[in-house]
Symmetry: C2
Subunit: 336 residues, 2 copies
DNA sequence: GTGAAAGCGCTAACAG
DNA sequence: CTGTTAGCGCTTTCAC
């Protein structure tokens, strides 16, 4: 193995075709002028030899590497991988490759990674995290390449993409209301998280100010405990519970089942994140709000390319719509 | 924003230092001979100007890009992200960056990504998947760069890294036995998976041939159903259950609780994968076998670099040890 | 129509 | 000790 047959260079193609490298280059790139015959001969030969131009050599000339960096502190991949998939989807056709840099909240490590990417002449960097209200531990303010922030805190004047959590929450609550649920409750994570606040705000807006909102942690365990509160002797006994994430929702559903309260017969439950691994394993499967991170990634990819091509992009926050994915935990029929 | 101050080139440094580019290059790389004074002057200036050499230009000369590709079909990141973290950890110091390519079991897409990476002159590619007995849908046999396979099926004569599932399973079963459990059972995924077979084989070896092995799916739901079988009227009523993965284990534990059977008081349960998101949320938290994918990644990183430096590496399968991570689902004290 | 030559940013011989 | 020169693989004027 590893019998690496040397890579064919343009000179090889040119020599074998009996033309100069200049002509060969033009022939293959469809530029310059020459007889159709010459062009086709070169093309055919290049094909036969399996010639592939050295992207680095091209990059040196064009000053574009067709390479972008994805910087993230989300070691779990919960956010970064769907995003990555979207980015790839948007850029693969243009031959763009992505450097993934996981920086585990280590500023020095981050700096080193960013430098390495810059040295490798990335055309831009996309920054992502696991919280919308916390910045990565790196100062990117004086990068010499464009930056797009996706699902992380960013400077005011940056190009930033986030999910529209309020809209997503509204979809969920509306659904609950449409199903005839009238005593709603919201169980979510710590109040200090912007995501929790946004989702809770939207909930209050539609469910009314007196509908209970319970802040806690982003865990199943908290979901359990919240149910104990909600269904205590003189608790509110809600018939619809919107949860701040899927793990909480799973805890809630498990706790309800343990109390003999039927989901979705007696209580409808909706989660947030649509994390397949938990939403799918919940019994019954969980209806949840999907943040469309993949689409966010696609958009991030398009934006970073546009920027790297020098196109002017309006800075500021762009909110991308969420989508309710209906399973069986809320009752009623599937809509999509 | 995006007021990109032009990057400083070596020529700039040289000009300002009043020396030739050659001297500047040598000064900064610690090569050649010159007065300490000259060298330091250049170094200082480079520092002040924030000069960073263009890695592409270097790569063109040295024929080494300090870039590797990670090819995966694991869209979830369950395997690829820990691996990635390990690879990065091993290679970041040498300034190596990693192209991540998620190919969703699409051969054509895979081919395009591989070509793009090759065009960008990666020094090697690491291949990974989500099953040890299934190859990625690409033929990499005639790549012109070294390949290392990690946690995926590979050709006989390739350099391949896998977790030692049998050893991991043995650790788990031994633990159960040490805890005094004598009626063991194994609940695992589909028999056709090599991983299931290996783990089951090790189980049988230690637990005895008549200890029940239940093949099914890799899901929580199957864990539930398996408990129904095991604890049926005249079922084996085991006191120790080793599960083929964490999701099954979680299903098993939930089912046991629902039957009023105490974990770990009455039955000890151990999972496999140590997937924090499920092992940590299980009640009680799940003892599980960790495949040390990060270490696998580190090793893959080291190997690919060695290969790309032309070092001879013995081809063949390398099994990396697993490690039991003790939580509370099996009883007894924590060991580590 | 085609090719010679310059050059992207850097390193490595080889002179001086 | 330092600078000149030749290239890495490619694209692109600009002569011929």
């Amino acid at each position: 193995m590893a019998v690496s047959t040397e890579r064919i260079r343009l000179t090889d193609v040119a020599r074998l075709a009996g033309v100069s490298v200049a002509t060969a280059s033009k022939a293959l790139n469809g530029t310059g002028r020459m007889t159709l015959e010459t062009r086709q001969k070169v093309k055919r030969l290049a094909d036969e030899l399996g010639f592939r131009p050295n992207a680095m050599a091209r990059a040196m000339i064009s000053q574009r590497s067709f390479t972008v960096g994805l910087l993230t502190n989300d070691t779990y991949g919960r956010f970064s991988l769907p995003l990555m998939a979207g980015i790839t989807e948007a850029l693969a056709d243009e031959g763009v490759s992505v450097f993934l840099c996981g920086i585990e909240d280590d500023a020095e490590m981050a700096r080193r990674h960013v430098d390495a990417m810059l040295d490798k002449q990335v055309d831009g960097v996309i920054c992502t995290g696991k919280r919308i209200d916390k910045a990565l531990p790196v100062d990117l303010s004086d990068l010499s390449v464009p930056i797009v922030y996706a699902y992380t805190k960013a400077p005011e004047d940056a190009v930033t993409l986030v999910s529209d959590d309020a809209q997503g929450a509204r979809e969920a609550v509306r659904r609950l209301i449409e199903l005839g649920r009238s005593k709603l409750a919201h169980v979510t994570g710590p109040e200090k998280f912007a995501a929790a606040q946004e989702r809770a705000g939207a909930f209050a807006e539609l469910a009314g100010d007196d509908a209970p909102i319970l802040y806690g942690e982003w865990s199943e365990d908290w979901g359990h405990r919240a149910v104990a509160e909600l269904f205590a002797e003189n608790g509110p006994q809600p018939d619809g519970i919107f949860c701040g994430n899927d793990q909480i929702a799973r805890g809630v559903i498990d706790a309800l089942r343990e109390r003999g309260i039927g989901v979705p017969e007696t209580v409808s439950v909706i989660g947030f994140d649509n994390w397949e691994i938990v939403a799918g394993a919940t019994r019954p499967p969980l209806t949840s709000v999907d943040m469309n991170l993949r689409e966010l990634g696609r958009e991030a990819g398009r934006l970073i390319m546009a920027l790297s091509e020098g196109k002017a992009i309006e800075p500021g926050l762009r909110r991308m719509p969420c989508q309710l994915v209906v399973r069986s935990s809320c009752g009623g029929g599937r809509t999509n």
